[in-house]
Symmetry: C2
């Protein structure tokens, strides 16, 4: 039974890509066949894994719009169970083109159904908006993991995110559930961070991951080498935290 997890939050710069890439790496290292889908036209997840999106022949755009079977790329140079469905430049135009189509919100779900090989986990990195690409991720997913930066402006938009999830759950995807809220870029020295984390735990009891991801320069350096944190610096706080988060993810998915 494939567990499909959307990593989404319309607030920008809260650690969606960092979480998608490193969580996928941890799940792969634990022996789970894991596919990372880069649904952001910025293609940060693809480049953070050392993949050059410009050298593609078939891309996610083709899978969404032309009903082609998605082409996945193994990343066994870094992680043997890790695969990537990379983004492409033309993905930015996909939102405009999908609008007038029948089934515009189910294009990704249908594309993933055409995959020719099985996966234990599929993680979808979403762009920072509530447009058609993110809606496609929420319709295709069983779970949504919401990275939340421990800052005031990031907290503000959370209720809008949750409302969107509830609407999708009612209308298009009754299985969709919040897997959890993950505190990211956490700086335990500031009062603001503590206050925000308290607020999150109060507003979403039992839904906040017990391990926050602390701010650490190693996590922001790794993408410039095209490496996951497990290959760039396996003993860093970021590597350990994402491994603990992976355990929590597995626990929630398998319990359900």
């Amino acid at each position: 039974m494939t567990q499909t997890i959307a990593i989404s939050n319309q607030k920008g710069g809260v650690g969606k890509t960092t979480t998608a890439v490193n969580l996928a790496a941890c799940l792969a290292d634990l022996g789970h066949r894991t596919l990372l889908v880069d649904l952001d036209p910025q293609s940060n997840a693809s480049s953070a894994l050392g993949f050059d999106s410009n050298r593609l022949d078939a891309s996610i755009y083709d899978a969404l719009l032309d009903h082609a079977a998605p082409t996945v790329h193994p990343l066994d140079a870094q992680h043997s169970n890790l695969f990537l469905l990379p983004s492409s430049m033309d993905l930015a135009g996909a939102e405009f083109e999908l609008i007038d189509r029948e089934g515009r919100e189910t294009a990704l779900r249908d594309a993933l159904a055409r995959l020719d090989q099985p996966f234990d986990y599929i993680l979808i990195d979403s762009p920072p908006s509530l447009g058609l690409l993110t809606l496609n991720a929420l319709v295709a997913a069983r779970w949504v993991l919401i990275p939340v930066q421990a800052e005031y402006l990031a907290l503000e938009g959370l209720s809008r995110m949750v409302q969107t999830i509830q609407r999708i759950n009612r209308k298009q995807n009754p299985e969709l559930e919040i897997l959890g809220l993950l505190a990211t870029l956490y700086d335990s020295r500031t009062n603001l961070a503590h206050q925000v984390l308290e607020e999150l735990r109060r507003a979403f009891p039992d839904k906040v991951f017990s391990t926050p991801v602390t701010r650490s320069v190693r996590l922001s350096e790794a993408p410039s080498y095209g490496q996951t944190i497990l290959r760039y610096d396996a003993r860093s706080s970021g590597a350990l935290q994402y491994q603990q988060i992976a355990q929590e993810v597995i626990h929630v998915c398998e319990k359900a």
Copy 2:
């Protein structure tokens, strides 16, 4: 002669809103009549100024779609020359609705032309995407100020942003120019930040603001009190840096 400046970068969380709000406050305190346009459906700029977008009768959505005259709100409780054209919840739907319209990329330019009072500076806070709302900001603006976080992933998307600006300049707005690139969330203790800043200066000679905005918790606390940094903590590094940046902005705009 009104100077209209779009604050844009499709990369999320790089300090667009923080720059738009605090730069507008600095320009207002220097005696310039300044309008801040919140073009992001997240309405972070509106809430950072203590404005509740839910209590609106007429919003930016009406100005964009129904050709109504935009309603601006004075913020003289904090700054006597500062005005806000707030965002609204329905702005998220505006992108979908504008798509099929004649002049879909000039809706904001036309709306600003219907303002019933003069401004010296108009600053436009854009959402983290290259969709129709950001394109409207670039078509309406004379200048674009690009906040760039001194991080690898933020550097990645810069060429796409610059290509979009060049395309708009060729096709719809021959006056559009890059006012400058502003290094934000700068942490001078890390090598990565220095390398990125060097890289920016090399790639965009004469276009990088001489004052980077360093990471400072006071800047991220101010929005939770609905205050600009000048009112929250006028002696903080953030307040001084944004005042220096305002001087550079005035110098570039008046020289042209």
